[in-house]
Structures are given as structure tokens and as C-alpha cells.
């Protein structure tokens, strides 16, 4: 299946298994979503469960919260993650806080699906990596699948999770990436990373589409320069698999962190802080970060100079490998 088909399959499976699961968003019903992620769902499950909403992201999020309070499991689709910010207060100060402010009495098991990341020439509003905003302050789990199987299983996990989960879907991978997915309804474990490629000299940690770039860089540099590079796909950010990263860094002593989101206070900052605190004595040198920049996502003709590129990864790997210790 493609990543997109896996996404649809997960929602279909969840809606079959649990009548409390509903889908809502702009153009998700009749049109099947602007990316066609919800294609066929309204025909299968009806207007009551696959709802075309007004053009109002704040309203979408707020009503999804209300539904979740009552006991439904709403999946709210935000058309592009750049549109999500109108709902920021609803998400970060209502949905993600209900459990805490009500002493655990009222909970909000909702899912927000947000097509994210760049590489699509979508310009400022259609290419965003907003994860940091929705992590800071707590209460939201965040997953970022980068393969068809992960798209299927992490979305399933988000739906069955008793708490709010933000799914950052990788738009550039929707149709371009295919792979085997067993439609067995088994969710992934949120918070477990995948060691995509084992290595001994250096660890690259990435998430989202950057995982594939990291893999390519690791393969190329291993063949040409003989470096043995381990690549870890975090797959989720809250919680993130610090144990996996730590175990790797304790072996390799070198870490490169890679993400599209902008550098300052990007998720890489958290990884660097946590790893230097937890594994300081194992570091052979400074941890490298490769990230987007503190500005919108690049030019209208393309965002190659914004997003991490193969050149930047190579340079960072060389810096790390060349640092004498």
C-alpha cells in the first residue's frame, strides 16, 4: 500500500471495530479529503460518522473535543498542518488539558491528523513542521510515521489511545512510498523508535520524511567513506524513545539529529539536551543538529535549502567523524 492507502485502511479498520470512531473535517466526506485520505469512508459509514464541517479549524477542534468528552473517538482532519494554528488554544489549552484540569474525570481521546512537512513546493502555509508548538506545555502525544506500515499502525494507536494524539502525516510520502502492510488492526506502540539501519561509528536520529534522507546518506557514506552509520527513526515524539537513542549513542559516541522543523527550540533541542544529560560521558564530541531554519519553508520554486539536504548531512557526519577525541 502507499502511505495514503495505509492511512485510509487504518481509519476504515478502526471505524469497523469501534462505532465510537468518527471522522470530521473540511471536505472529508463527499470528496474524500483533499488528499483522498478519507476516500470511501462516508459511503461506507454514513454522514453521521464522516462529517463535512464548515471552514473553521477552531470549530473542528473544539467540537471534536466535545465529542471526545462525551465518549466518541473523533478523528479530526486538518487539511494542512499550517491551518491548525487557529485551533491552537482549543488544542493546547482545552483538549490536552481536560484530563488534568478535571482531576481525571473528563478525558479527550481525540486524534488530529495534520498533513505536514515540505518537499511539495507548497509555500509557507502548506509546508509546515509545527510539532514543537503542540508538544510544549504537555498533554499531547505526537507521532510522525514515515512508512506505510507505520502510517497504518501509528494511526491505529492514536485512535485507541485514551489521550489526544497529533499525527503529523508526511505529505510528500503519501503517494510516493509504497510497502507491505498487513491490515490486521494491530496498533504500534507509541513511543518506540525503529533502528532502521545498524552501525557502530555514528548515530543519526530523524523522524518524518527526513528518515529516508538519513538512510540514503548513511548508505552512501558507508560505501564511499567506510563509516558505519546507525539510523534511528523516532516514529513518535511524545513520548520519544530515549532509551533507543541512548543505547545507540553509548555505543557509537557520535550523534547527528535531523528534522525539518526550524532549529531554534526544534525537537532536536530536546534530544540534544536529554542525551547530553543522560549519556554525557559517552560522547566523543559535540552533538550535531541539522534542521530547518528560523523562517518559513523556503522559496516558492522549492524548499531544498530549507529542509535538511544530503549535503548538510554529509557535512555533519564528517564534522562528527573528524572530531578527535
Amino acid at each position: 500500500m502507499t502511505v495514503l492507502q495505509a492511512t485510509t485502511a487504518a481509519m476504515t479498520r478502526a471505524m469497523l471495530d469501534d462505532s465510537a470512531v468518527v471522522v470530521m473535517g473540511e471536505d472529508v466526506g463527499v470528496a474524500g479529503g483533499i488528499f483522498r485520505a478519507t476516500q470511501g469512508l462516508q459511503q461506507q459509514f454514513g454522514e453521521d460518522r464522516v462529517i463535512d464541517t464548515p471552514l473553521d479549524e477552531k470549530g473542528i477542534a473544539a467540537h471534536a473535543i466535545g465529542m471526545a468528552l462525551y465518549g466518541l473517538r473523533p478523528i479530526a482532519e486538518i487539511q494542512f498542518s499550517g491551518f491548525i494554528h487557529d485551533a491552537f488554544e482549543q488544542i493546547m489549552f482545552c483538549g490536552t488539558k481536560y484530563r488534568w484540569i478535571t482531576g481525571g474525570q473528563y478525558t479527550c481521546p481525540m486524534v488530529l491528523r495534520a498533513p505536514s512537512f515540505g518537499g511539495i513546493k507548497g509555500g509557507f502555509w502548506h509546508s509546515q513542521s509545527p510539532e514543537t508548538y503542540y508538544i510544549h506545555g504537555g498533554g499531547m502525544k505526537v507521532v510522525c510515521p514515515a512508512t506505510p506500515d507505520d502510517a497504518y499502525r501509528l494511526l491505529l494507536a492514536a485512535i485507541v489511545d485514551p489521550d489526544p494524539v497529533l499525527v503529523l502525516e508526511a505529505v510528500p510520502l503519501y503517494r510516493s512510498l509504497s510497502g507491505p502492510v498487513n491490515d490486521d488492526g494491530v496498533p504500534a506502540e507509541i513511543g518506540r523508535a525503529e533502528v532502521v539501519r545498524p552501525g557502530d561509528d555514528l548515530t543519526i536520529v530523524a523522524y518524518g520524511p527526513a528518515r529516508h534522507l538519513a538512510l540514503r546518506a548513511a548508505d552512501e557514506m558507508s560505501a564511499r567513506e567506510g563509516y558505519s552509520i546507525e539510523v534511528i527513526d523516532l516514529r513518535s515524539l511524545v513520548p520519544w524513545d530515549r532509551e533507543a537513542v541512548s543505547a545507540s549513542v553509548r555505543r557509537t559516541g557520535r550523534l547527528v539529529v535531523l528534522h525539518e522543523g526550524s532549529q531554534t527550540l526544534g525537537f532536536g533541542s530536546e534530544i540534544v539536551a536529554a542525551i547530553q544529560e543522560h549519556d554525557f560521558g559517552y560522547l566523543h564530541g559535540p552533538i550535531q543538529r541539522i534542521a530547518g531554519h528560523d523562517m518559513p519553508y523556503g522559496f516558492s520554486i522549492g524548499d531544498e535549502y530549507y529542509r535538511p539536504s544530503i549535503e548538510r548531512i554529509r557535512a555533519a557526519v564528517r564534522r562528527a567523524m573528524d572530531f578527535e577525541f
Partner: protein, 408 residues
């Protein structure tokens, strides 16, 4: 005011013992005046003042150990009278890193600044994993000279320091009373202490003992004495054979690289000969010994023996040896037939020779008196195996049995 800091007087020195002052506080001195005698690593060094002025402070006492870089003497006076005086000893730069990279590579600039900052703060720059290694080995990073970029301390530096430093288990302190005389570990004895510890800790020292017939050597020496080459004694003639044997077995003429543990085979034979000096056994090096004819070799050996007795050997005289030859023949009275000499790091072999003794030998089935010398060859079994050692011994024995003048 001018501070004269103890310079590195011999390639990587980091401390010296003050033997005596040659001047007094209040003296007016000129640039070049010898102000002190210090002992560094088995040699004595006279230190000339790099500046003129009036001595305002000599903050050490004879017997004190100074680190390179510490202030040895303070002068009052006209700053302009100090000539091109050495500044504080800087951390060594990478020898193969051209200065042009300083401008182009911001990382290196940052690191040299880092090393200056570190020096100012008194803290060393080292990667976290290197610090962890240092902690595990009990090495204090302060005072470790870093060989990395910008003076960064590398793992190798930590290992080297760990090998040199001694961490004895705490022992019961004997109470100070009149029955106990303390012999402080100073100067040459301190150096021997360190070297022997290091050697015994790192090398896989294996010794083969053999005997050689010295009749031919003695005959050669007698012939040369007649020809007015009195400097060629038995020791010199035997040394010549050793030198030639080394050219046939080049792995014995080698040193080990402490960082990589690679074996460095040397084209030149720099023969260290152990000789007696007032402060103990010293091993000056005769350089390029394979190029010397026998009389030249004899002269060289004689000269270092004289200088050793007079205590005028300099630090460079002691460095760079590729093989060590040690003979206690002159001192022996007992019949010492073997020894287990410790290897003189970073070399990989050492040869001990006894005195020549009259002993019964068997020639063609007949017992007759022979002129015998016992030899013990210690080699580092981490690098050299038994077959190679046997080969060397065979070659050496053959050469001693048929000594040739000069080199091939």
C-alpha cells in the same frame, strides 16, 4: 618586571628538578647569565637568563620539582632589555597542520581560542568520553598535554599519562624515627623509577640467555691496539657486532608507537650504551652507529663514557635510541651468567653482557679453557617472536665469532 618561566629544554619535557642556584636575589644579571642548574631526565642543564635586570625573586629551593611553564625567576628592570625572550610555552600545534588553515577553518580558530581560554581558566579541554576514560584510569586532566587540535586532550594523551603516572596502593606509613632514613625520589632515581615501572607494566619482556666465545674479539682488539687504536676495546668491538646484527635483524632495531602500537622500524641504528655516571646508570645514544667504522665507534663510546662520568651529558644525548647495550662486565667479580634486563621503552629489545670469564669449553671433543661471555637478550614478545630472537642470537654469535672491522 620579567618572569622567566621554565622552558622545555629537551623535546617534550614537562618537569625538572632544581639542583642549585647560580645567582642570588638582588644580583644584577645580563642576558645569558647562567642562573640555575636543573636536572631533567638524567641530564643536567644550565639555564641562561633570557633577559637582563635585577633579580627580585627566586621562588624555589634546591631539590624542588618545577613544571615547565612555572616561574623560575623574577627580574625587575627595563622591559626593553629583555630580548627575544621565550613566551609561555604554548601547547604544541599539530606539526603537519599548515598555518594557512588557521584563517580558513573557523573550527580550528575556535579551538585555539578554546585552549587559551582553558589555560586561563586552568581547565583542560577534552571530549566527554575522554574525560570518562581519564576518570576510569585515575588520570588528572590538569597538566596533561593535549596533542589534539587546539591543545585538546585525546585518548592517547590520557593513556600515555596513565602509563607514566604511578598510583601505588596506599601502604602503611612507617613512622619517622631515627632508624629510618628517607631517600627522596629525585632526579635520576625518579626517572629510573618511572621508566622501569612503565617498561614492566607494558612490555611482554622475554629473555633468552646465551654464551659467546670472545677469543676472536680479544684477538682483534689486541691487533688494533698494536695499530694505535687504543680506543677500541672489547666493548666497542662487541658493540660493532651488535650493530651489524641489528642491520640483519631490523625488527630488533625498532621502537613502538604508544598511540597506535605500531612498530616503527628504523633505518639508522642509534645504539644506546649503558654507562656509569655519578648519578647512576645512564644510556647515551650513539647515533647512526651503522655508519661508523670500528675506531670511530670506539671513540664515540669512549667519549660518552667520559661525559657520563663528568655529568655533562645533555638531554638530546639520551634520546632516540633504537637498541640498548648494557655491560656490567667492569663491575663484576662474581660469576653472573644471566640477567633479565628490562627493555628501555620505546625500544623493543636490550642486550646484557657479562664480563669475560675463563671457562672450560669443548672443541672437537677436547676440553680446553675458553674465553666466555654470557649474554641475555630481552625482547618485547608483543612484537618479536622466538624464531626471530633465535635468528638474531645466531647472527650475533656468528659475528662475534668472526668480527669484521667497519660496516658492510
Amino acid at each position: 618586571m620579567f618572569e622567566f618561566r621554565l622552558p622545555d629544554v629537551g623535546e617534550g619535557l614537562h618537569e625538572a628538578e632544581l639542583v642549585e642556584w647560580m645567582v642570588d636575589v638582588g644580583s644584577t644579571i645580563e642576558e645569558g647569565t647562567i642562573i640555575a642548574l636543573v636536572n631533567t631526565d638524567k641530564v643536567s642543564v644550565e639555564l641562561p637568563s633570557p633577559a637582563s635586570g635585577v633579580i627580585s625573586s627566586l621562588p624555589w629551593n634546591p631539590g624542588d620539582i618545577l613544571r615547565v611553564g612555572e616561574v623560575l625567576m623574577v627580574l625587575d628592570g627595563d622591559e626593553t632589555s629583555s630580548a627575544s625572550s621565550p613566551a609561555d610555552p604554548a601547547p604544541p600545534l599539530e606539526p603537519d597542520r599548515p598555518s594557512s588553515t588557521y584563517e580558513s577553518d573557523p573550527v580550528i580558530v575556535a579551538e585555539s581560542e578554546a585552549s587559551l581560554v582553558a589555560a586561563a581558566l586552568g581547565r583542560s579541554i577534552a571530549a566527554p568520553s575522554t574525560r570518562k576514560l581519564a576518570a576510569e584510569l585515575g588520570v588528572d586532566l590538569e597538566g596533561v598535554r593535549g596533542s589534539g587540535p587546539g591543545g585538546r586532550i585525546l585518548r592517547g594523551d590520557v593513556h600515555t599519562t596513565a602509563a607514566k603516572s604511578i598510583r601505588p596502593a596506599p601502604v602503611e606509613q612507617l613512622s619517622a624515627d631515627e632508624d629510618v632514613v628517607r631517600e627522596p625520589l629525585n632526579g635520576v632515581r625518579r626517572v629510573m623509577f618511572r621508566h622501569m615501572t612503565e617498561s614492566s607494566n607494558s612490555c611482554a619482556t622475554t629473555t633468552s640467555t646465551f654464551t659467546v666465545r670472545m677469543e676472536h674479539i680479544e684477538k682483534l682488539v689486541a691487533e688494533l691496539r698494536v695499530e694505535n687504536s687504543p680506543s677500541v676495546g672489547v666493548f666497542a668491538a662487541t658493540s660493532n657486532c651488535v650493530v651489524q646484527a641489528l642491520t640483519r635483524n631490523p625488527r630488533f632495531n625498532a621502537t613502538s608507537d604508544p598511540d597506535s602500537n605500531d612498530l616503527l622500524l628504523h633505518r639508522q641504528v642509534h645504539l644506546g650504551v649503558a654507562v656509569a655516571s655519578p648519578s647512576g646508570l645512564v644510556v647515551p645514544v650513539i647515533r647512526r652507529a651503522q655508519e661508523l667504522h670500528l675506531p670511530e665507534l670506539g671513540n664515540a663510546i669512549a667519549e660518552v663514557a667520559v661525559r657520563a662520568r663528568e655529568g655533562t651529558l645533555a638531554a638530546p644525548d639520551m634520546r632516540g635510541g633504537t637498541f640498548t647495550l648494557s655491560s656490567t662486565g667492569g663491575l663484576e667479580q662474581a660469576r653472573v651468567t644471566s640477567a633479565q634486563p628490562l627493555i628501555n621503552l620505546p625500544q623493543v629489545a636490550i642486550l646484557w653482557m657479562s664480563r669475560i670469564r675463563d671457562e672450560a669449553v669443548v672443541d672437537d671433543g677436547v676440553v680446553r679453557p675458553g674465553r666466555m661471555m654470557s649474554c641475555s637478550l630481552s625482547f618485547d614478545h608483543r612484537y618479536i617472536d622466538g624464531a626471530e630472537a633465535t635468528s638474531f642470537i645466531n647472527n650475533l654469535t656468528s659475528l662475534i665469532g668472526h668480527p669484521l672491522e667497519g660496516s658492510e
